[in-house]
């Protein structure tokens, strides 16, 4: 129904996205119910690790945003299979063919898609924020700076994320007044984001930092969150966005923050929880090499890409030498391409480390990182039923490192209450 050459593969793809919406909905309501109703004894909400808080917020976002994508998907399927034209404008020409249509609106699709699409980017990045918080606190041997502020900031980012979808549509013919409102709300997200960043820095300040691979990825996450987030402030302003729209600038911004920062969160989490998952440690030396190659690599890809965007390099063009003004940017293209291949090749180190670690890695103890949260009191890997039938009682907040009067430099959540607190 759309262009020629787009057959049943597209339909199957939309159906799979619809199934994905339903699966996300079920996963999200399971997660929210579990967090609210089934915590360990003594685990009040404000004692939860920030990883759980971020996943909880992520689940709320998924619960509220995926159903809208589902509705959009149903309408799109009707367009493709039922012969309707919700999203196809009258007189649309694709590949010299006039598409039969009764006059729908592609803008409607943009509204429905981006109402899902913007919360979706927070669905991708919030768990990474939780992981970064957990790792920075553990390896700086300090409580997370401003735990309550972190929780509020995560919620604020999540909720504001529902009111900013219009900033993807500044050049779609949005009225300037709506654009202004969307722009202000978008920039407002900078406030909780800055709170989080300063709290991460405050956590590192004066800490006894242990530079494990997992910690490096957590610090890398913060670095990428800052450089990716700053460029978001450019794009959030209508007047600047009109200039930068559809150039490499938003491509670089998006991939720096939602692509690479989120992946750094995943890598950090993998290096951190691998011992718990498989009972063996990953190789630290190989891990650090992986980190440095990846960190330098992604900056080598995306910093030049930002510059290319400012210089006018358009996105979605297969052949950029067709246009005179893009010709001088060819060396940048080549540099970015080589950097991308090298960075991708560096991921083989991770693959090798992962496979090697699963079978040959050093045996892990219960709590190799001297961390405080519940998963570290059980064996690595955990037995059936996670805690082997033990009923846990939580007495402490999530990140009690360096507590005066404690026997060790960390107090696990299940440790008995300290004498000094009584």
């Amino acid at each position: 129904m759309a262009g020629p050459g787009l057959g049943s593969g597209q339909d199957l793809w939309i159906i799979s996205i619809a199934l994905f919406c339903i699966a996300s909905l079920l996963g999200a309501l399971n997660f929210i119910t579990t967090v609210l109703n089934m915590r360990a004894k003594g685990m009040s909400l404000m004692k939860m690790p920030l990883t759980v808080w971020t996943w909880f917020t992520t689940a709320i976002l998924a619960l509220l945003s995926f159903p809208v994508l589902l509705a959009a998907g149903i309408l799109l399927l009707l367009d493709r299979l039922g012969g309707t034209s919700f999203f196809i404008p009258a007189g649309l020409v694709v590949s010299d063919t006039v598409i039969e249509s009764s006059g729908g609106s592609p803008i409607l699709w943009q509204h429905l898609f981006w109402f899902f699409g913007h919360p979706e980017v927070y669905i991708a990045i919030l768990p990474g924020m939780g992981v970064a918080s957990q790792l920075l606190s553990t390896f700086a041997r300090k409580p997370i700076f401003g735990y309550h502020a972190m929780v509020v900031a995560v919620f604020a980012i999540g909720m504001l994320g529902f009111f900013v979808w219009g900033h993807h549509m500044f050049v779609s013919g949005l009225s300037p007044f709506s654009a202004l409102v969307f722009s202000i709300l978008t920039l407002a997200i900078g406030v909780p984001s800055a709170i989080k960043t300063f709290n991460w820095l405050g956590t590192l300040w004066g800490g006894k930092i242990r530079f494990t691979t997992a910690m490096l990825f957590a610090i890398g996450f913060v670095s990428l969150f800052v450089s990716g987030g700053i460029t978001g402030l450019f794009l959030g302003q209508t007047s600047v966005d009109v200039q930068l729209h559809d150039t490499y600038f938003p491509v670089a911004h998006f991939h720096m923050i939602m692509g690479v920062a989120a992946i750094f969160g995943i890598f950090g989490a993998t290096y951190y929880w691998f011992p718990k998952m498989f009972g063996r440690m990953l190789h630290e030396g190989l891990g650090k090499l992986h980190f440095w190659l990846t960190f330098i690599g992604v900056n080598a890809i995306f910093i030049p890409m930002h510059l290319m965007g400012i210089m006018g390099q358009l996105r979605r063009y297969a052949e950029s030498t067709e246009f005179k003004f893009m010709e001088p940017l060819q060396p940048y293209q080549e540099f970015v391409t080589i950097a991308a291949f090298v960075t991708a090749a560096a991921q083989l180190l991770f693959l090798v480390n992962f496979c090697w670690g699963m079978f040959k890695g050093k045996k892990a103890t219960e709590n190799p990182w001297e961390a405080t949260t519940l998963e570290w009191i059980t064996a690595s890997p955990p037995p059936h039923d996670n805690f082997g039938g033990r009923e846990l009682v939580v007495n402490h907040a999530a990140y009690e490192y360096g507590v005066p009067g404690a026997p060790r430099d960390y107090v696990m959540q299940t440790d008995p209450p300290l004498e000094s607190a009584k």
């Binding site: 109703n37 009040s44 309707t84 429905l112």
Partner: protein, 211 residues
């Protein structure tokens, strides 16, 4: 010190072994599902409003007879099913298994009746030439939104009838208790509530008021 007090309060709440919000897992899960499903319908109704406003030749072909009368009858059937659902939950909470099953079956009957009436109405409109892709009165999107939205709602009613029958069977075999009936009732009332939005937006706003 403030922190220590907060921690103690948390422990006391838990010490009693009650759930923090006093809502069971399945009920909380159903409420969350309803929130999510409500957004799906909201998106569909938003899409309907959007294309309606954006389309100049949007038709208003319905008349008081037969469409509005018929749709009102369907609304009455659906409201009756909500009443019988309340009675079923009430019976379940009293522990009256016989009447629980009876009222659930009445609810399922009204649900099925709604689907049959809806089907008759659909056939009538199709016979007048209204389809997903066209109608004799104006913008083809009129039929597309009508069948899309009412079809989605009818699918929910159908799912609800299957759900009701499964619950009735479970109650008969003593596998389900009153909580399951109540949660099923939440879903059923939600589906009715959606109709209370569909009825004015899709039917009443499409009535020909005369030139």
């Amino acid at each position: 010190m403030a922190d220590a007090r907060v921690e103690n309060t948390g422990l006391q709440v838990w010490g009693g072994g009650t759930l923090p919000y006093s809502v069971s897992h399945i009920k909380l899960g159903m409420w969350l599902f309803i929130v999510s499903d409500a957004l799906t319908f909201s998106a569909l109704l938003f899409g309907y409003s959007y294309v309606r406003i954006a389309t100049p030749d949007w038709p208003t072909p319905f008349h008081f007879w037969p469409t509005v009368v018929f749709a009102t009858l369907m609304t009455a059937v659906l409201l009756s099913s909500s009443l019988t659902m309340v009675l079923a939950v009430n019976a379940a909470q009293r522990g009256d298994r016989k009447w629980t099953i009876r009222w659930i079956l009445w609810t399922a009957f009204f649900g099925a009746a709604f689907i049959v009436l809806h089907g008759i109405e659909w056939m009538g409109l199709i016979n007048q030439g209204m389809t997903l892709t066209g109608n004799p009165w104006g913008s083809p999107l009129f039929g597309a939104t009508f069948f899309g939205i009412t079809g989605m709602h009818m699918f929910h009613v159908f799912t609800g009838v299957v759900y009701l029958l499964a619950i009735a069977g479970g109650v008969a075999r003593k596998r389900f208790h009153s909580e399951h009936v109540e949660v099923c009732g939440l879903y059923w009332h939600f589906v009715d509530l959606v109709w209370m939005f569909v009825f004015p937006l899709v039917y009443l706003l499409s009535v020909d008021m005369g030139a």
